[in-house]
């Protein structure tokens, strides 16, 4: 502890070729097991059974690279990534970049998990069934819900699954045709609009009041018996807790509307307040965020979907159940189920890691986790508010919980340096580029930080010191910031408009070489 050190950092810069450029005909990286001679002799020419047009004639032009060079290439690429376990990743607000414990990776690699087939008989998978059952029990207690489904592969998927259940619920009451609208708020995650839209609902998005709080009067005006459900986050992505959330659910229930609580932002309120007491019928936890499972460059994840007992019959099949003798089984006999939303039982590795993390926490450390995350957030906020050019948007005089939506509007007005310039430059200090905001940018020049319980006071002091330096740079040498970064694995893209131009965009080497006229 002491004076915050700003690092003289430089990321690895391997100037790595695309692996196709490393290819040399005939080089091998891995040999599949040989087929025993007896088998070969017995079956003869297996291609003989294939009619013309189905046997591949031109081999796929995959890279031909030796094993060492494949390994080195991907090690180089890995060094050109700032994983959250490497750096003070306070940056990715709304994402809860907490420490992803190594022991959990050892558990996932255990052959008694890694090498399980999902269709094995129940008696041979009692261990993983128990893990699922236990995680469900813990989620139930944290939410006050009656059942949890662990199949959705991420938060947006849980919201989609919830919307599917909403549809099934109203259909079971003969109201599916009539109830085709949902309501969400602008500071709920975009998936709270997009996932129900994918499920077929018309979406009403409510703008916040000038204070940043959701608008109860506008909400009441939007309610009717055509509304199927509300999908809303709290605290919202601004970090502001809506203290009248129960009035929203109560008003919705007057119209027979189901209430879904997007709890991607659970971290600061674990054990502090629950979905049930706020009047919700369903909720979800992003267990790849809140329960310490890694984000994997964006998945696999799990959106654990909780619900009240009367909605449980609509859950995707199969469901883990426990027999009186303590044995677990997968129940496929769910006639009112919405069906499947993901193959088998979802991202089992994420569930297993979450179990290990939750068991290392227990009731009191979970709460401690929440308390330290809001403490960290308020501490960092205090430090950042001392930096000229930074503004904490909305809700003056109110405290934020686990994250804050800030703005560089003043800095931009004064210097011309905007939030994206600062964001790029941040990488030069060994800190992940921060998350600006979901679209649209209601808050001008936004950035969103979430210093969860993982981060030490020293991390936060370092983080704030870097921001102070950046705000100073913006005043002293704005052009320098506009061309940042300089010490990351790669520089700023020359012309990002190419990504919107069909003549130039290329998501594969095949497309790139064709468009560039290269071989």
């Amino acid at each position: 502890m002491g004076i915050a050190k700003i690092r003289n950092y430089h990321q690895a810069h391997w100037d790595e070729p695309v692996i196709f450029e490393m290819s040399n005909p005939g080089v091998r990286g891995l040999l599949p097991p040989e087929v025993e001679e007896e088998i070969q002799a017995k079956v003869g020419d297996v291609y003989g059974q294939l009619p013309d047009g189905i046997r591949r004639t031109a081999p796929p032009a995959l890279p031909e690279v030796s094993q060492k060079h494949v390994l080195a290439h991907y090690l180089h690429l890995s060094q050109e990534v700032l994983g959250s376990n490497l750096c003070p990743d306070v940056s990715q607000g709304t994402c809860t970049m907490k420490y992803n414990a190594r022991v959990n990776e050892d558990l996932v690699a255990n052959p008694n998990f890694a090498n399980l087939h999902p269709l094995q008989p129940d008696e041979t998978v009692q261990g993983i069934l128990e893990i699922y059952w236990q995680v469900e029990q813990i989620c139930k207690e944290l939410a006050g819900m009656d059942r949890f489904c662990l199949q959705p592969g991420g938060g947006a998927h849980a919201v989609f699954t919830a919307a599917s259940i909403v549809r099934a619920y109203h259909k079971s009451r003969g109201e599916a045709e009539k109830r085709n609208e949902i309501i969400t708020t602008m500071f709920s995650h975009p998936c709270d609009a997009a996932s129900p839209a994918t499920a077929g609902f018309k979406v009403t998005t409510l703008m916040p009041l000038e204070t940043g709080y959701p608008d109860l009067e506008a909400f009441k005006a939007a309610l009717s018996d055509r509304v199927a459900s509300i999908h809303i986050t709290n605290p919202e992505d601004t970090g502001i807790y809506n203290p009248i959330i129960d009035q929203f659910t109560a008003e919705a229930h007057k119209y027979g509307v189901l209430c879904f609580y997007d709890q991607a932002n659970l971290n600061g309120i674990m054990g502090i307040t629950r979905a049930r007491e706020c009047g919700f019928d369903m909720c979800h936890f992003n267990i790849h965020k809140t329960f310490g499972s890694p984000h994997g460059c964006s998945g696999p994840g799990t959106g654990a979907l909780g619900m009240r007992a009367e909605l449980a019959k609509f859950m995707p099949y199969p469901v883990v159940e426990k027999l009186p003798d303590g044995a677990f089984f997968l129940d496929y006999d769910r006639p009112e189920s919405i069906g499947k939303i993901k193959g088998f039982m979802g991202s089992a590795g994420v569930v297993l890691r979450a179990y290990a993390w939750l068991r290392m926490m227990g009731p009191d450390y979970l709460r401690e986790c929440a308390e330290i995350s809001v403490l960290n957030n308020n501490y960092l906020q205090k430090k950042l508010e001392a930096i000229p050019g930074e503004t904490t948007w909305y809700a003056k005089g109110h405290r934020r919980l686990e994250q804050v939506r800030y703005s560089w509007e003043k800095l931009a007005q004064e210097t011309g340096v905007g939030t994206e310039d600062i964001m790029r430059r941040l990488g030069d200090f060994g800190i992940e580029h921060y998350w600006t905001s979901h679209h649209p940018w209601v808050v001008p020049e936004p950035f969103t930080l979430e210093p969860c319980e993982t981060f030490s006071k020293d991390d936060l002091d370092e983080y704030a010191a870097v921001f102070e330096r950046l705000a100073k740079e913006a005043r002293e040498n704005p052009d320098f910031l506009k061309n940042a970064p300089y010490r990351c694995a790669a520089h700023k893209n020359k012309d990002p408009r190419e990504f919107d131009d069909p003549a130039k965009w290329a998501t594969t080497w095949m497309a790139y070489t064709k468009k560039m006229g290269r071989k």
Binding site: P33, V35, T124, C297, H491, P502
Partner: protein, 463 residues
């Protein structure tokens, strides 16, 4: 809890640090922050959860003890497939997937996360070569989701709201498509399969392929393991009626089988799990969607797309997000379906796998699978009471075995096999009652000749 014990994951629990921070904020307790939450919404009691296991040593022991109640596919010989495959997982792939950089990164931008973008771009590039199409997404959740996405894309492109699927499709995958595509494609009709070959019934397809049908989604190999040899005819029939051809593939077959794009497929989908990703009780999945690199198709892909470009530094590759406005991150409910955290780590792993295998490896692996499959079918066909193959079309990796003549159910047979440390094939009697007591068997390169003979010997003994 003894509040003196500082949790190794929560450094600021130390009372002195906490006090310093509270002081800096100007409050005396975190309760002053939680005052934002009204009293009546506060959870008042202690969470009723198991006490913590604080030492890593005891935690590991605890979880390993639970996991020991599983029986795994190394200790048992497994013939289960049906969407999750026991292929060999190369050490280089697990080494890369376990790197903290890839494992713990998320949505950071392309400068400090350059390697993430490049690895994902290379994954897409390898899939592009396998399937012969120039546009590939960053992975969605799994095969079912990719298949459902292809149906919704076809509906938007054609403006039609019906789709066709073969009777032989996996019922679980169909359930996934049905739920996901419902709002765009409420009608999913089934095309019968030829009872002799097991392949799509072209006469039935012609009958059902009307101008209301957006697409057919079929699979090659089929869920029941047959190689669909009529791809070009199917494509012709569907295209003639103005429809789109979406095909699900097992990517591991594409070293030896033509990709659908070569016989008229417009959208190709599949799962990356077999490409070096551990099974993880089904958790190893990741769905890909590939199309021709044409704006008409690209505009309808809901996933993130990572593109290559150049940076301000001459000669340096840069990466970024292609056509971002398509996505729900940018356009919320006006977007093409929703987007979220999906399965990128598995895409990276699959890219490493395909880079290791190369064209020769994929060809040898595919040939070996064809050979082992043919050999196993031959071995089992000699067993009294077993009918195998059930269909005449050639098989790739999976095949149906019918046990009707044994007088035993698949359940009984699988129970007996389990006693010999064998996981028998997937019981199809619930999903395909018309097949009687049948099971779907899967062989891969992990099986040795001895494994295959032992299966035959045990089946001979119990049937």
């Amino acid at each position: 809890m003894n509040k003196q014990t500082i949790h190794p994951y929560i450094p600021n629990m130390v009372p002195e640090i906490k006090d310093q921070m509270l002081k800096e904020i100007g409050i005396s307790s975190v309760e002053e922050i939680y005052a934002e939450i009204p009293e009546h919404l506060r959870f008042k009691r202690r969470l009723n959860l198991p006490e913590p296991i604080l030492s890593e040593c005891r935690l590991r022991q605890h979880v390993e003890k639970i996991l020991a109640r599983n029986a795994n596919c190394s200790e048992y010989t497994s013939f289960l497939g049906a969407g999750i495959y026991n292929h060999y997982v190369p050490s280089v792939v697990t080494t890369i997937m376990e790197r903290d950089e890839f494992l713990t990164a998320y949505v950071g931008e392309s400068m400090a996360d350059h390697g993430k973008f490049q690895a994902q771009f290379e994954f897409a590039s390898c899939i592009a070569e396998l399937v012969g199409q120039g546009m590939v997404n960053t992975p969605t959740y799994d095969w079912g989701m990719a298949a459902a996405t292809s149906v919704r894309m076809a509906s938007r492109i054609t403006g039609r709201s019906e789709a066709l699927v073969p009777r032989s499709i996996s019922p679980d995958r169909l359930a996934c498509i049905r739920n996901y595509a419902y709002s765009a494609v409420p009608t999913l009709a089934s095309v019968t399969i030829d009872p002799r070959t097991g392949l799509l019934d072209l006469a039935d397809l012609k009958k059902k392929m009307t101008d209301k049908v957006a697409c057919i989604y079929f699979e090659n190999p089929t869920y029941l393991g047959m190689i669909e040899t009529q791809g070009a005819e199917i494509a012709r029939i569907v295209h003639d009626a103005g429809g789109i051809v979406a095909v699900g593939v097992d990517p591991i077959s594409l070293g030896v089988l033509e990709p659908p794009a070569h016989y008229g497929g417009d959208i190709t989908v599949g799962d990356v799990q077999g490409l070096g990703i551990p099974m993880q009780w089904g958790g190893g999945q990741g769905g890909f969607v590939a199309t021709r690199d044409e704006p008409l198709y690209v505009a309808e892909i809901p996933s993130l797309l990572y593109g290559i470009t150049e940076t301000t530094e001459p000669g340096e590759y840069g990466f970024g997000e292609v056509f971002y406005e398509r996505t729900s991150y940018a356009s919320r409910e006006k977007a093409k379906d929703f987007l979220g955290t999906m399965a990128q780590l598995h895409g990276i792993g699959a890219g490493v796998y395909l880079s290791l295998m190369g064209p020769q490896g994929m060809k040898e692996l595919g040939e070996g699978l064809l050979q082992r499959t043919a050999y196993t079918i031959g071995l089992l066909s000699g067993i009294k009471g077993l009918r195998v193959p059930v269909y005449s079309a050639p098989n790739f990796k999976e095949f149906v075995v019918n046990f009707d003549a044994t007088g035993k159910t698949v359940k009984e047979i699988n129970k007996a096999l389990l006693g010999k440390k064998i996981f028998g094939g997937k019981d199809l009697s619930r999903e395909f009652p018309e097949l009687g007591q049948s099971a779907l068997y899967c062989v891969t390169e992990v099986h040795t000749k001895d494994d295959l003979h032992r299966l035959a010997d045990v089946l001979r003994e119990i049937c």
